[in-house]
């Protein structure tokens, strides 16, 4: 009898341990460039991390406000050394440090956001936020009465330029006379500077403020002046309830869950993923109550077309700022051109320098 009980207990233990082997306990680390409470870029990634916590057999951890460069290498290395199974680094400047650490820890999965380098155990990923920017541009184009939209932007890099172009093309479908004025702040996160930049655009006649920054500073300026704004990263309506029309937003949860699932199943392979609206990675925040129903309907119809793949944002004819044809009629700009975009479409006022 007693031997029987011990035998049963042993069987149970064995059962538990085999269960563990089947569903390996994974530790997933995240490295963020800014604090997670910022309502912006890192906050969006952290929402994805929290979704991973829901998965069985997955533990997560994060380090916030990690400076790009040597600091990030130290943080990524520490995570790898502690035996984390997957490490997500979510800023462009983490690319080379991560590549270096990836070479030292071949059994760890490294995932880098927004870069272009890969290794056998390092993949990269990004989202086609320009699709959502196109839609937010449609809303802005419909709501402006001065036909001037202000755009507070961080750095003149292809990612930002692509977003401004898509936004402008979207605005022009609703209002062909619209111009988009761009002010560069050369910072990702400086609410004071971003607010001042938005005010300068308001002085230049803009009555809708869009942005590619990580803070709601521009939203604050728009709210104070009583004009509309388009947010970014997450739904920023709580910072400017009367001004917030909508916002292109990130939704990393489905992608992060997919990556972790693949690692759990042992099917993960390094790749470059550039996912869009169809995969649910980028989306549009809920419309503010001031956006008329017919505008909402047109935007949502365009969103459906993008999801079904019937509508490509950068399909010709597209002219550049000087009015010269850059994309011929019927041509769809390939991804390589999108990734290296250094020119503005017609209707944008500003320089790419």
């Amino acid at each position: 009898m007693r031997i029987g009980i011990i035998f049963m207990a042993l069987l149970c233990l064995a059962g538990i341990s085999t269960m563990h082997a089947a569903e390996r306990e994974l530790t997933v680390g995240f490295v963020y460039v800014s604090p997670v409470g910022d309502a912006g870029w890192s906050h969006a990634h952290d929402q994805g991390r929290l979704a991973l916590e829901e998965m069985p057999g997955v533990k997560t951890a994060f380090v916030e406000a990690v400076a790009e460069g040597p600091d990030s290498e130290r943080v990524i290395q520490t995570m790898a050394r502690r035996g984390y199974d997957i490490i997500f680094a979510t800023s462009f400047g983490y690319m080379d440090p991560m590549l270096k650490v990836a070479g030292q820890f071949p059994n760890t999965v490294f995932m880098h956001c927004s870069g272009f380098k890969t290794a056998a155990n390092m993949g990269n990923y990004f989202g086609r936020i320009y699709q959502a920017r196109y839609l937010s541009g449609m809303v802005a184009g419909a709501m402006t009465t001065s036909n001037v939209i202000g755009y507070v932007a961080a750095y003149p890099i292809p990612e930002v330029i692509r977003g401004i172009n898509a936004f402008t093309l979207g605005a022009q479908t609703m209002n062909p006379d619209v111009t988009v004025r761009v002010v560069w702040t050369k910072t990702w996160y400086d609410p004071a500077m971003e607010k001042e930049a938005a005010k300068s655009l308001l002085d230049a006649g803009a009555d809708v403020i869009a942005q590619h920054q990580d803070s709601p500073g521009p939203q604050e300026a728009a709210q104070q002046q009583g004009v509309y704004s388009i947010g970014y990263n997450t739904d920023m309506s709580r910072f400017a309830p009367e001004a917030h029309l909508t916002a292109p937003v990130w939704n990393w949860a489905p992608y992060y869950q997919q990556v972790v699932q693949r690692v759990q199943d042992g099917t993960w392979q390094a790749s470059s993923d550039w996912l869009g609206m169809a995969e649910g990675i980028v989306d549009l925040a809920p419309f503010g109550p001031m956006v008329p129903q017919e505008v909402q309907d047109r935007v949502l119809a365009a969103k459906e077309q993008i999801i079904r793949g019937e509508k490509k944002i950068f399909s010709g004819p597209i002219n550049n700022q000087q009015g010269d044809e850059k994309v011929a009629d019927g041509v769809i700009l390939p991804d390589t051109d999108l990734l290296g975009m250094k020119w503005f479409v017609q209707g944008v006022v500003g320089t790419t320098e």
């Binding site: 604090p35 409470g37 406000a65 761009v182 609410p191 500077m193 001042e196 930049a197 500073g217």
Partner: protein, 306 residues
């Protein structure tokens, strides 16, 4: 430039110049007593964070503004401790204060990044705000800007027409003679350090209570250093400090507006303008170094009497 462009630009110059003005006056006060405080940036940041936290906790911006000043004075008291009690090097202590203040504000502030707190809102002064031209430029701001209008004349009166102010300056010019005349030089220097720190803290609080209501680390973004340069530029005169602060505020506002109005100049060059101006100001001032009005004993510690 048309008035429609010029007036918002000048109004923005006043707003951007106000935190610099507070900090410049604070640094000037400290230096008048003979204590060079290069820690303006760090003192501003502790004031900036304290103002934000108190406003968030109490919902009372006036209380927060006062608390920020006290936090500034408290931070500056470390500088007083090093320089007035232990006879430490003022330059080194000031630099250390910048590092310490920045570090402390980042350490306690990181948890609040992106959060908002109540603060001061624009309050147009009735009648004055309706004057064409001057009204929108000067009288359509928040109360802290109006307060900053009153300070430079008060500082001038204080430095040149009050016994306390004259004693303070004597301590900065020639502490030995001041002591011989029966002035407690160390006490006056303490007053200079603490009151100076108070106004630097207010300058920081302007950024988190009025300029924007959102917290982020390093909100001062180098404005403390501009204040240090402006004290030299202003030849230690409060009136010229106003001119210098608004000049810098104007340059900061101008470069963004040039972009908004569609200039073809590269934005990197425009963003350099305030810093290029800082260097130019220091070069200009050092060319006149004969009669700048720098306190003669600035940066020189008072040796303890045996």
């Amino acid at each position: 430039m048309t008035p429609e462009v010029l007036i918002p630009l000048l109004a923005a110059a006043v707003i951007s110049g106000t935190p610099i003005l507070y900090a410049t006056l604070g640094a000037m006060f400290s230096e008048k007593s003979g204590v060079l405080n290069l820690g303006v940036e760090g003192v501003m940041l502790t004031g900036c964070l304290t103002g934000f936290l108190v406003a968030k906790a109490s919902g009372n911006p006036i209380l927060a503004f006062g608390a920020a000043g006290l936090a500034g004075a408290l931070t500056a008291s470390l500088h007083g401790l090093v320089c007035l009690v232990f006879q430490g090097n003022q330059v080194v202590s000031g630099l250390a204060l910048t590092l310490l203040g920045t570090g402390v504000a980042n350490y306690f502030g990181t948890a609040f990044v992106g959060q908002a707190a109540p603060g001061f809102a624009p309050f147009p002064i009735p009648w004055l705000a309706d004057i064409p031209g001057i009204g929108p430029v000067l009288f359509n701001h928040d109360p802290l800007v109006y307060l900053s209008y009153v300070l430079p004349p008060l500082f001038w009166l204080f430095f040149s027409h009050t016994r306390f102010g004259l004693n303070l300056r004597a301590t900065g010019e020639f502490p030995g003679a001041a002591a011989a005349a029966g002035i407690n030089a160390i006490a006056y220097r303490w007053a200079g350090v603490l009151v100076g720190g108070f106004f630097m803290g207010l300058g920081g609080a302007y950024l988190s209570l009025a300029y924007t209501h959102l917290w982020t680390n390093n909100l001062t973004a180098g404005r403390g250093w501009i204040a240090v340069a402006l004290v030299i530029f202003s030849f230690w005169r409060p009136g010229r400090a106003v001119f210098g602060a608004y000049l810098f505020g104007g340059i900061m506002a101008l470069q963004l507006r040039l972009q908004a109005f569609g200039t073809t100049l590269p934005s990197s060059l425009l963003l350099m303008l305030p810093y290029v101006l800082t260097v130019a100001v220091l070069v200009f001032s050092s060319l006149h170094n004969k009669k700048t009005g720098a306190p003669a004993a600035l940066g020189v510690n008072i040796e303890p009497r045996d």
